[in-house]
Symmetry: C2
Subunit: 251 residues, 2 copies
Amino acid sequence: MNNTIKHQLEHRTIREFKDKEIPMEWMKEFVEVIRRTASSTGMQTYSIIRVTSTDLKEKIAKVCGQEYVKRAPELLIFIADAFRNNQIAEELTGKEYSESHDMDRFFQGWTDSCLAAQNLTNAVESKGLGAVYLGSILNDAEKIIDLLKLPKLTFPVLGVGFRYPNQEPQIKPRMEMKLRLFENEYVTFENYLRELEDYNEEMQTYYDLREANRRVDSFSQQVVTRLKNTLENRTKILKVIMKQSFELKIN
Amino acid sequence: MNNTIKHQLEHRTIREFKDKEIPMEWMKEFVEVIRRTASSTGMQTYSIIRVTSTDLKEKIAKVCGQEYVKRAPELLIFIADAFRNNQIAEELTGKEYSESHDMDRFFQGWTDSCLAAQNLTNAVESKGLGAVYLGSILNDAEKIIDLLKLPKLTFPVLGVGFRYPNQEPQIKPRMEMKLRLFENEYVTFENYLRELEDYNEEMQTYYDLREANRRVDSFSQQVVTRLKNTLENRTKILKVIMKQSFELKIN
């Protein structure tokens, strides 16, 4: 097993960081890793906002509902971006391109953003640093759009906070691949709870730093709790996507 | 610069592979890397279909409109999967969960799928192997759903083909980060074509293995061509997402 894979298998979310800078050279490498990430049809349909303002970090932390976000020493927000290529096409031809507004462009941008974010995370972790994904920016996508002054045809996808870890969480138990890796066709199970017995038990031995002093729920119970705690804002994400001038084309 | 980052900076798409197996041990490592990838709120809202059937590969290649896909020695399709957790919650409580159908779950699954795919790609490339992303499975998402027998509340996101490279493509030029990495707020430019002059020129020195014997277009021209060649099927992706029982909630 090489070092890349060793680090990948040791992945855990780091939410608290040391007050210590990283070498400038590393940051340059990370940016170059983002830049070299595969991108759908080479169109590079994504942008990144590096958040350095303390005030802005606090506002983003409020959206996330997670106060540690304001302490993230390095914070990048990945943006699906069909705006730039739309501008390029319009400048080059003097015409408008309704195609820039379609959901294909949107999803390409979403995928590009995620690939770049994971590529960054791998680079970060390869240096012995730690990272946290912030999907919670979508708790209020409209607010994030406003805070980062995102133009039409762009959309926030996820954030990554990183630097030197100041905590050492356990590696989180994961579901057996038997339940999620299939050959040639999807396989359903008659009784998921029976299949999950071992995993549910293993999960209850996991010590979550965010909920110290109590055992965590079984995975099955966590699924139910998550479904109960649904945020209406998040379920209506398409309304915000429309507001950003994307055309849903559902008729 | 460590080996992980060295490989990341050498990323290029590999579309042709040698007829040579990889050690079983490596495949196990790759699967474990997928399994250990970060996942939104720990819910593991994704599954993977490993395509081993030659017939199925041919059918997928047709959807992709890229015949080399049928020769991909290893082919994994990443699936956004809200079905499994829906089943788990229903089994545990005997109730139905309409929340399983919302777009938040859908996007969590999409993001999870992309993170896992990029994590896999990094592991693959760290071994000196090569990979190709297949966003082109979305040329006909409905057909892929049919071929892979995907149940409701699942959706194909992207494919990854990989193994020993049988070609050595140039590294593809990428846009300057000045145009896509901003501090605290999005920056628009008055004249993108002027900003892109060097990049457009650099792109024309790039030798694309898929279009031998001719210089490739400037990036700006590629953007226009891509917008012109829009596939209607792809722009109507939300209709297929609805068919898979997700609720758009746009009213």
